[in-house]
């Protein structure tokens, strides 16, 4: 009998500011957190906007890499939300996903090597590696369990959730801190700009006029634990992580597999893991980046999964509101999903007007839907063909 794994605490910081309530309040209204990027020179970039954390949300007294800062803020909220005992912190697993980690520190060290800057804070040398985020957070919390830094492109923090889920089920630990962080750095914006993936108008996932994605930054942290462990300490439970599935496409580094077969495989593995049938899904939180190719392939995958039932399944995505937060998107979007379960809402796809040749599909448009949300399918896909799916479910104490 599989252990049940539940979410007992959440914390986040995004373009809308600190806190999960702040995030959710904006998302259910369909607010868009896009701003003109003024943090660095964008004059040679085609896309000059992004969803970045407002400057006044950073505590300038803290002299640390911005990615680390975002992570610590989100982790602090999550740990307080879950009211984790000190005794639990020592044995807490930490699983974090990110694509580029402390990229700002990397840029600092790189500028120093090139003599662009005359000096470089000593912390930068210890902040840029991928593992540094996780291990510095581990030191802060005081856990004795080796932390895991994952990087599978845009499915990184979804993968982190899956790994932590299995670690608790396998009784390696009772409680874990899981999440992701990504910075809207000059590097990442320029990188996506060089691919011509970024929108030059507005991000409109699944819309017939969609022309690309908008990048975002932020951090999301969830405290997840064994159900019995949570009940024993009377923890508040947001919901259950019921299933995880993943599948590599083995197709191409840049282009996704065009039939959606592998995304379908990841989703069916997750559904099987959760003992869940497709028609039990209340809504799909799609990857929904807003690029012509991704959204098309995602619909093909959804058609394989739900077949004739698809028109009755609401489909939404949050990336047009908070941006594509890359390695952090799985965690931040999972937080929104669990609040949807708790509050009974399905957020809209901001900027979506009309679908492309997909008449009859239920894209959540214009406003949130208020309804009972029992089970959510969250999908993600990353460069190189890394596909994941997660099933989130309302808690049933029976």
């Amino acid at each position: 009998m599989k252990h049940r794994v539940v979410v007992t605490g959440m914390g986040t910081i995004t373009c809308f500011g600190k806190g999960k309530e702040t995030l959710f309040n904006h998302v259910i209204k369909g607010d868009v957190g896009v701003r003109h990027i003024d943090r660095f020179d964008t004059s040679n970039l085609k896309c000059k906007s992004g969803c970045y954390v407002p400057e006044d949300e950073y505590d300038k007294r803290l002299d640390t890499d911005r990615a680390h800062h975002l992570l610590f803020v989100a982790a602090d909220e999550a740990l307080k939300d879950a009211d984790v005992l000190d005794s639990d912190k020592k044995n807490m697993g930490i699983f974090l996903g990110s694509i580029y980690g402390g990229m700002e520190s990397w840029e600092n060290v790189s500028d120093y090597i090139r003599h662009i800057n005359k000096s470089c804070h000593i912390d930068s040398f210890n902040r840029y590696p991928l593992w540094a985020l996780t291990e510095n957070l581990s030191k802060e919390i005081g856990t004795l369990v080796a932390a895991c830094s994952l990087s599978t492109a845009c499915s990184s923090s979804d993968f982190a959730l899956g790994l932590a889920l299995n670690a608790i089920r396998d009784e390696e630990m009772d409680i874990a801190l899981v999440g992701g962080v990504e910075l809207l750095s000059r590097f990442i914006v320029s990188g996506f700009d060089s691919l011509n993936s970024l929108t030059l108008t507005a991000c409109k996932p699944f819309d017939k006029n969609r022309d690309g994605l908008i990048l975002g930054e932020g951090a999301g942290i969830l405290i997840i634990e064994d159900y019995d462990h949570a009940r024993k300490r009377n923890a508040h439970i947001y919901g259950e992580i019921a299933g995880f599935g993943s599948c590599y496409e083995a197709f191409d580094l840049a282009r996704p597999e065009p039939t959606g077969k592998r995304r379908y495989t990841a989703a069916t593995r997750a559904l099987a893991d959760a003992d869940c049938l497709p028609d039990q899904i209340s809504f799909v939180k799609a990857h929904g980046t807003g690029t012509p190719i991704n959204d098309k392939i995602e619909i093909l995958a959804l058609k394989r999964i739900f077949k004739e039932k698809l028109p009755s399944i609401p489909i939404t995505t949050y990336k047009s509101m908070i941006g594509h937060t890359c390695g952090a998107c799985g965690a931040i979007e999972a937080i929104i999903c669990f609040l949807c379960i708790q509050e009974g809402f399905i957020p809209p796809i901001a900027n979506f007007k009309e679908a492309e040749n997909e008449s009859g599909l239920f894209f959540v448009k214009d406003y949130s839907r208020e309804c009972k949300v029992k089970t959510i399918l969250q999908m993600a896909a990353g460069f190189g063909g890394s596909n994941t799916s997660l099933i989130f479910r309302e808690i049933n104490h029976g």
Binding site: V109, L130, A146, S149, A250
Partner: protein, 407 residues
């Protein structure tokens, strides 16, 4: 002894500064060869530490040209060549090309690509960025190449640490999610790494009395020498009565991993952490500690790491610690960050077959705090059957793996 199912090592491969292939790695290691050289890849004059270990990229290109894959960046070249070596070693019969095989990889990302893109950003000319270069810079690019070229469609995972990849692969294989796991890691060494480690005072350097060397457990050790390279292990879940068990190179019996959040502040605490990792591996293996006949130590070459590891070994083994050979291969190979531990497993398996264990070279001055048998400077005939591999990181992660080698 053995349970019904085993996690076997069907094959292994390596790319290191010693050369291309696990065979040459073992041959050079037992000869006590030092593959570390003066840095030519970037200007080393600003640095006190002048050496590191680099792979032969021309050799990699020759191998990959034959297969039509030489256009990938260095990091992926290292990964693909290490895997190619492992497949040859495993008597590969395309049996891994299915959805029951996963890739579990350790990588920090493509430094060469990141630096090139950043240069283009500074010149305000993104047209300089080559096609696919951005995708190649991401940490899972090497694992993706492996899955694409070898048609591997199972669950896969990329971590910043190779030993974490191994630990996760073992868990997946034990839970019957997968039948086969390609486990490995790859590292490139660039100026940014050297700059960072130099600034953090981690690197070995010459003094008025000694030359710049990695000297694990030696009284005059003063730091780490880093290298680039890659490793690949093919793990398969095999039944006791399957014919595949006879082809296995070894069996992973158990693994353990811990973290010391206070590393660098309290060495006794670190020693307990390292010991716990080893105990965990032994418990998981279900063996008696007396059965361990060799230890491939982490042997990082810093005062702290080597002292902590020695204490932990003494606490764990008691008097027996003085009777087991403790080998520090980083002395001649350098520290290949993501592959650390995985490389030692290969050398251990080769030693099981060859009957010769490599020395810890550059051991000249005994340290009273590190007084175990480190197999100083000369290879030794030794019957290796069950060995322990330890590895750690500069930040305080400790790993231990117990392996049964077939000879």
């Amino acid at each position: 002894m053995p349970p019904q199912k085993h996690i076997t090592i069907s094959g292994f491969g390596a790319v290191t500064p010693h050369g291309l292939g696990a065979s040459i790695l073992y041959e050079n290691t037992i000869k006590g060869k030092n593959c570390i050289s003066e840095i030519a890849k970037f200007n080393n004059s600003p640095f006190r530490s002048k050496t590191a270990g680099f792979v032969d990229e021309t050799g990699l290109n020759r191998i990959l040209d034959r297969k039509g894959h030489s256009r990938v960046p260095l990091l992926s070249k290292i990964a693909l060549c290490a895997l190619s070596d492992a497949y040859t070693n495993a008597d590969y019969k395309k049996r891994f090309r299915n959805s029951s095989t996963g890739v579990f990889w350790g990588s920090e990302g493509g430094v060469e690509c990141i630096e090139h893109i950043y240069k283009a950003i500074l010149k305000c000319n993104l047209l300089d960025v080559k096609p696919l270069e951005f995708q190649e810079s991401v940490a899972n690019a090497s694992a993706s190449h492996i899955s694409i070229i070898e048609k591997i469609k199972g669950e896969s995972f990329v971590s910043a640490r190779g030993m974490h990849a191994l630990h996760t692969a073992i868990a997946k294989l034990k839970s019957n999610c997968l039948k086969t796991a390609i486990v490995g890691a790859c590292d490139e060494y660039a100026e940014i790494h050297h700059k960072a480690y130099s600034a953090l005072n981690l690197l070995a350097h010459a003094t008025s009395e000694t030359s710049e060397r990695c000297r694990p457990f030696d009284a005059n050790r003063n730091g780490i020498i880093f290298s680039e390279g890659g490793s690949a292990l093919i793990l398969e879940v095999v039944d006791n009565d399957s014919e595949l068990i006879n082809k296995a190179k070894g069996v992973i019996l158990g693994s353990g991993m811990t973290f010391d959040p206070q590393f660098g502040k309290d060495d006794k605490q670190s020693m307990k952490c390292f010991k716990r990792a080893m105990e965990s591996a032994i418990d998981c293996a279900g063996i008696n500690i007396e059965q361990i006949d060799t230890v491939f130590a982490d042997g990082m070459g810093t005062k702290r790491h080597d002292r902590v590891e020695t204490w932990a070994l003494k606490e764990l083994f008691g008097k027996k610690a003085y009777q087991i050979p403790i080998i520090g291969v980083k002395s001649g190979l350098g520290y290949i960050r993501c592959s650390s531990g995985l490389i030692d497993i290969m050398i251990g398996l080769s030693a099981c077959k060859g009957g010769i264990i490599p020395p810890t070279i550059h051991y000249e001055t005994p340290d009273p705090e590190c007084d175990l048998d480190y197999v100083p400077n000369e290879q030794r005939s030794h019957n290796v059957r069950i060995f322990m591999v330890n590895s750690s990181t500069v930040e305080g992660v400790f790993n231990s793996v117990i392996v049964y080698g077939v000879n």
